[in-house]
Amino acid sequence: MNQPTRWSQGGGSSELSELVRGLPAPQPLPALAQQELGAFASQLGAGGALATRAALRGALMRRLAPYVGVLAVVGAVAGLYWRASEPRVAPLTVVVTPPQTLAVQSLAPAVSSLSEDIALPSSPSPQAAAASSARTSASRGTPADTLVREAALLREAQGQLGSSPSAALELTRQHAAEFPRGKLAAERELVAIDALLRLGRRVEAEARGVRLLRADPNGFYAPRVRGLLAR
């Protein structure tokens, strides 16, 4: 079978040939992106859901770096609102740092402390709901992609597991509501199962575990689910 003649070499009309010539060729992987993606792959490959979260947290830091100033302002406004509506609540402390004066690496701790400042308290409360709402609005207002926002929410849920499994479970519900077709649904289910077990709701945990295993019996998380349910 002979290879067809390319449009640009007379295999099509001159019009098609011109149209094809105007298309840009795919560009090779830049060295910097290769390095960053290599680090991301290494974190993934280091093992399991925790590594996935760590890798995504790195991506979150990178994506949020240009918007730290915006997030800080939103946090400060939320803090002022908080103080006005509930004087007994400790004021929210936020350090506003102009993002354009800092390197990306130095922004990571600033983002971490910011996220700690606006983290949910150990048990759900009206203030927590307000903070959560402010946080959600802030994240929706940034151009950070869905995957990064998903990861941030699940990181928060994971962080609540030890101190307040009910708050962790609530955050997984929030994740399911916000991201019904989320890419990290499996991770969410793992956190939810863990939270349910810690709350002593084994029947519900097993039901969710079985559903996850049925959907993907040989998947990456199957051993982890079995391990959780065997506790």
């Binding site: 298309l23 795919p26 993606l37 990064v148 990456f220």
Partner: protein, 185 residues
């Protein structure tokens, strides 16, 4: 060549992990996602998404199959999801085929930029696999045998996809030409 692995030997199944896939096939994934229509601004995020899928499914990789073919299939699914999300976000993809309207005159669509946007719009409607084959053949000027090697399918399948892509593009260009009453480029 569009992409060459550093080693031609097919490694044992248990030696593959996402780090190795990225090290050996990162450039291939990067090119393939572009060929399938991922916008430059979304490439890095889409690469991360692709690596997560690879990481989760690496144990399902059959060492009898070509790694490039397996990855091509993953890219295709990721690209399809990207397109669906882009449709939800923007209602239509950037550069998608504009509807005929009174505000679009032949003069406005004249010129290289407009022609390129039109072509991007036509390509955005193609199946990602067909689009990738078309871009490799017509834009990157790869031979069909090279494309077959890269995609991991027989040369006949490359011909078939290329033929189908060309037919769809030709028809779309003809429709636009009819609507605007002029050549598009």
């Amino acid at each position: 060549m569009p992409f060459e692995r550093t080693s031609s030997r097919q490694p044992a199944r248990d030696s593959w992990d996402v780090v190795r896939v990225h090290a050996e096939y990162g450039p291939y994934l990067w090119l393939t996602l572009q060929r399938m229509g991922i916008a430059a601004s979304d490439l890095q995020d889409t690469m991360q998404e692709t690596l997560i899928v690879v990481h989760r499914n690496i144990e399902r990789y059959d060492p009898e199959a070509r790694m490039s073919a397996w990855l091509f299939g993953i890219c295709r699914r990721v690209a399809a999801g990207y397109r669906a999300r882009a449709h939800r976000r923007y209602e239509r993809l950037p550069g998608e085929l504009p509807e005929r309207s009174e505000t679009v005159t032949p003069e406005q669509i004249a010129g290289q930029r407009e022609a390129r946007e039109l072509m991007e719009g036509i390509l955005s409607r193609l199946d990602p696999e067909k689009r990738a084959v078309f871009v490799m053949f017509e834009v990157e000027q790869l031979d069909c045998s090279e494309i077959a090697e890269c995609v991991g399918v027989p040369v006949g399948t490359v011909y078939s996809r290329l033929h189908s892509a060309r037919r769809e593009i030709d028809a779309a260009v003809a429709r636009l030409r009819l609507a605007d009453g002029r050549r598009l480029a």
